[in-house]
Symmetry: C2
Subunit: 314 residues, 2 copies
């Protein structure tokens, strides 16, 4: 593997946001608000945002960016030091063309996409040591063109795809933390991704497959609560088998925490109800594939994927 | 085990029907139509049927029984030679009281109930060698009090709970066949029950859990078609493990046959949509229990049971 120049990031770094939905706009706007050089690649909201900028309604205080550097095509942005991918993973086919103009030899590419397989997909396009993954723990919604509602949380955890955190990882965390985006560095990105799947697989899945239920209604059923736990246990067993240590008790802890939350509609349910594509592959199918490849199939998770597939007309 | 007197049945045999819904009324009416001494134990339709009798609208030709021997309590019937149980298995708690007045030492009790566990339940009340099980392959619906619609098929297959068929088994088959009820004797009741579960578990289950779908709509989804096959394979593997030989190819054969049928709403879906109790225990939970006890759990069938339980508010 080639040795990379360790990159540090500052206000003269060129940053691109690929996929300017709620996640991309919110995090990009926070960085821009704090003086970082953010370039938004946008499709549907381009006309509106290039004229009116971005409005962020946040429980931490609203703010506006009247002027935003936004682009319809990546060629207009040119090469960047950091590319943040906030595209739905269902649109990964378009990534090769979107990324190419944004890269220089040491561009760091941070994918905030859900589930598994997105870093592996990027590794077909760029060197492994350029790739980072991030997990978002945030409640955000696009209210209308250029208007984002940030209603709770905001944490991002990031890690290196190729190994342990480096100076670069900590430098990215530093500029996020300096922009009112709480950010923690993960020693193991794989562990972090599997830990998040322990929650997302059952709750995002059943929110669709059990008929459009929020977390409160899922947990109001003893049968579904047991199923949530069974699904979590399947995921934890596979994670452990792959070398990511998670205690079985995580299931009960997560269920208890979720009971303590307000009724919550998962992002997958919101996508599904809005008629948008559900991230079937990265949240359910790819974990099932990795489990089978490791000789530890997850039959209930597979069945959940089959039921979701049927819900979306497959 | 005590040696039983082999019983043969004829027009002077006393027959009771316990549970006079669509199944009990239809088969009882056929026997009565052909001169057998049938006594119907009835609850909700008692007033109507004792005044107006039974009307059977059948694709084989309609017929009426203006006078029907019907009863509100089993004491009025007294001991019988053959008791046919067509009660929903969800009402088994009432069976001890309903059966007691109907029994003499050699009463044969034939349960036409769905799924597994009904013969075992009866074995807590009467000797094993008194018990027979039957499987109904018939499309019947209660249209209104005393009016039954028989729209297709009609076959009953019967077998002995305690072992192989005897002269008694063949004698019961003979009086059914003599009453326009095609009846076949099963060498192994267990095998017959598991074979029927191979179809009922996925189709009755998904018809509820996947959101109120008939067989055609289930098989219109490639994902659900694959799930039907996976569920069937789980059931076949357990059946084989329990000593009931069924080929794996039965799954593809049943799916192909079902594709060839008209769109069909399963009896469980009809019960569910009418707000009646679904036979969760006998069709799904008891097979899962037997599978676990044999060390061969059926995870997808278990998950199906959990989803159905959630649908019925559990």
């Amino acid at each position: 593997m080639r040795k990379i120049t360790v990159m540090t990031f500052n206000k003269s770094s060129r940053i691109a946001i690929v996929g300017s939905g709620a996640v991309g706009c919110y995090y990009g706007a926070r960085l821009a608000q704090h003086g970082y050089g953010v370039h938004f690649l946008m499709r549907s909201d381009f006309e509106h945002v290039s004229t009116h900028g971005l409005v962020i309604k946040s429980h931490q205080g609203d703010f506006q960016l009247p002027k935003v550097q936004c682009y319809k095509a990546p060629e207009g942005i040119g090469s960047c030091d950091l590319v943040i991918i906030a595209l739905k993973s269902t649109a990964n086919d378009s990534l090769p063309d979107l990324l190419r103009p944004l890269l220089h030899e040491n561009t760091a590419v941070l994918t905030l996409q859900n589930g598994l397989g997105n870093e592996a997909f990027l590794s077909g396009l760029i060197r492994k040591d350029q790739i980072l993954g991030g997990l978002c723990f945030v409640c955000i919604n696009r209210l209308s063109a250029g208007v984002i509602d940030h209603s709770a949380q905001g944490l991002i955890t990031i890690g290196e795809y190729a190994g342990e955190p480096t100076a670069r990882t900590h430098s990215i965390a530093a500029i996020l933390n300096a922009s009112q985006i709480p950010c923690k560095v993960e020693p193991s990105l794989g562990l972090a991704r599997w830990r998040k799947l322990v929650w997302n697989i059952p709750f995002n899945g059943l929110s669709i497959a059990a008929g459009g239920l929020d977390t409160e209604r899922i947990l109001a059923s003893p049968a579904l609560s047991q199923l949530v736990k069974d699904l979590m246990h399947e995921v934890i067993h596979v994670a452990n088998h792959l070398g990511y240590e998670l205690p079985l008790s995580l299931a009960d802890d997560m269920i208890a925490n979720t009971r303590g939350m307000a009724a919550y509609k998962t992002s997958s349910l919101i996508d599904y109800m809005a008629g948008r594509e559900v991230e079937l592959d990265s949240i359910w199918l790819e974990p099932c594939r990795q489990a089978r490849d490791a000789g530890k199939p997850m039959p209930k998770v597979e069945m959940l994927a089959q039921l979701i597939a049927a819900c979306v007309g497959k």
